[in-house]
Symmetry: C2
Subunit: 367 residues, 2 copies
């Protein structure tokens, strides 16, 4: 079954009249972990205290939950609550939010659009995973409406964003912190799991504001994540895509951290793109190594995202700006409507699967 | 006296063997507010719960403390602890950290250095206060040693930063949050006070990494702030510097939020620069209006900084890259030593005064 014992993602839920607490999704139910495991760490309204316990605890807890749902199911059943009876909340408290730019197809598409007379990739792109800090206070859970932002669209021009876009991404959630002044490439020791991310973007605001310090208001109005955090341990891994040139030592891969995850982007219920995570150039272990190589510390709840996931094919592009080539080639929906960028009332849903495993979805409607 | 009843900045201190709690600086003492005001909000290890109470509470508390230190001094004296008997901590928990780029002299200097054949200011600069998000998890209190970061200095080049720099800035601390989807220009309702900021920068890392998404590892290794947060109410205000062109409506000034603050930057005890805050182009009310115009919410503990403060004169430049013109014109210290950028063991101290008021200092040593 979907959401079976090989999946077991963590989230935060509440029953009517009760406080939010940690649960695990199993089929169409949420397992109430506070009740099932008699552990107060799950009574918190976020995954942070549990994530801080570290890899051995994550593994042991997962094993315990599997046992409860197989050998002890008769006893555990009473702690399974139907999904339709609960509300899902932000699964963790976001400490710092970093967004990378790890898809070579995405970076090449954007480079070709905005710098048509030069090499699509900037000189640094193949040497390091380019990234920047986003606003952690506006990371919201799937289902939260996204208000179209206002902003400057050019010199003296102010109004509602006319080029509102989505970005289909994967996010990595840090459990175990590091001390300031140390670097760490020990990916599995620090990263607890993954979440789906929609990094909503105001392309017109971005084009005007981004030089020389990068995107700011074009991204800070909202970033949506899926309510379920899939443990790293559950994910099938594949070798990362070959890299040329070979990166400097701290960025050399220590294991296979390519992820064979297939995404789907739906606009008003219709699939408009199928980005393959396997096409990403920089792997998440390299993102973590880069993020900390200067001694920047990690905190429990840090979120770092992959950047837009785009594959080489047109139908694999993870943003509208790429799918419609900055609006010049609108996409036609089955309804007969066309879209260059998002309109009010549009719902964007990003889903993902990894083999038999589902990562669920992140969804949001523009209001 | 210095640090008199017209100043009264807030901080977090601990006596040996006791937990950190909130105090106010008075002369060479810290007033223990939990004891003096019988209010548990000050027993927290950060200013956040108090800052969340809002402007009326900030004003009433300030009035109360003044009374305690004047009319009731005989009773209050017992709650004054000599500074040398306490340790100072981070005064607040940083939520999101944003850094702006508000000095026209700084932006012009940097533009001239890095884009010598074009206009020093990019086309957007006079239309909006350019800003970006920094790493809130590595904001540290004055006195914390700063480890020289490692990073990529160019294609295939990795090693310790060779162009380590300081940036003298002023930071604004948010007390009262806003809802996502709303904008706010009500500066005094949201901003609690100011702190001094040293936004340490690895210039060689920055030059290689920053295109197209802005500074990342060049800044994320450490940002130092002063231990005392001066209430907005204490600061003398002046009109902001004239702006041309007039900014669009949401950026129009609602009052006089220019600040007549004089900074000093000391390198190993010697003054190397005297940046005047009065020369800033964008005022802090404009920064706040810009930050929230897209609907991005504020949280208690948000910190937004001015960007490097540089005046028009050479001796008023707030960073080494400007003082030494990217190392081409090193500064000579009284000791006979020269500096292009910071060396290990160097101590940078930024001090500030506003008329008779002192804002104290932020200091850090490179290790």
């Amino acid at each position: 079954m979907s959401w079976g014992v090989d999946n077991l993602p963590y989230g935060v839920f509440s029953s009517p009249g009760e406080s939010p607490r940690v649960g695990v999704r199993y089929g169409d139910h949420v397992l109430d972990l506070t009740a099932a495991l008699h552990d107060e760490v799950f009574a918190a309204p976020s995954l942070n205290p549990f994530m801080a316990r570290g890899r051995a605890a994550w593994h042991d807890t997962r094993t315990l939950i599997r046992n409860k749902l197989t050998d002890d199911l008769a006893v555990t059943e009473r702690h399974l609550i139907p999904l339709e009876q609960v509300r899902l909340h932000m699964p963790f408290e976001v400490a710092d939010y970093v967004d990378f730019y790890c898809s070579i197809d995405h970076a090449s598409n954007v480079g070709t659009m905005f710098r048509p007379d030069t090499e699509p990739l900037l000189p640094n792109w193949r040497h390091l995973p380019v990234g920047y800090h986003g606003r952690s206070g506006t990371v919201v859970v799937s289902g939260t409406p996204v208000k179209r932002p206002h902003g400057q669209l050019g010199a003296g021009r102010f109004g509602p964003c006319e080029k509102l876009d989505f970005e289909a991404e994967l996010g990595f959630v840090v459990g175990v912190p590091t001390e300031m002044g140390t670097s760490s490439g020990a990916f599995e020791e620090h990263v607890f799991g993954v979440t789906l991310v929609n990094d909503w973007s105001a392309r017109d605001v971005q084009a005007w504001e981004y030089r020389p310090l990068g995107p700011f208001l074009a991204k800070s109005f909202a970033t949506s994540i899926s309510p379920w955090v899939t443990p790293l341990e559950a994910l099938p891994r594949i070798p990362g895509r070959p890299q040329d040139p070979e990166p400097v030592a701290y960025l050399r891969r220590q294991g296979d951290w390519g992820l064979d995850i297939s995404l789907e982007v739906l606009l008003n219920g219709e699939v408009v793109s199928r980005p393959p995570y396997s096409s990403m150039y920089w792997t998440p272990d390299q993102m973590l190594a880069h993020l900390t190589v200067n001694g920047a510390s990690l905190r429990t709840g840090d979120l770092f995202a992959s950047g837009t996931i785009s594959g080489p094919e047109r139908g694999e592009r993870g943003s509208l700006i790429e799918l419609t080539w900055n609006g010049s080639d609108p996409i036609k929906l089955a309804s007969g409507e066309v879209r260059s960028f998002l309109q009010d009332g549009d719902t964007v849903t990003i889903r993902a699967t990894a083999g038999d495993l589902t990562l669920g979805e992140v969804s949001g409607t523009v209001v």
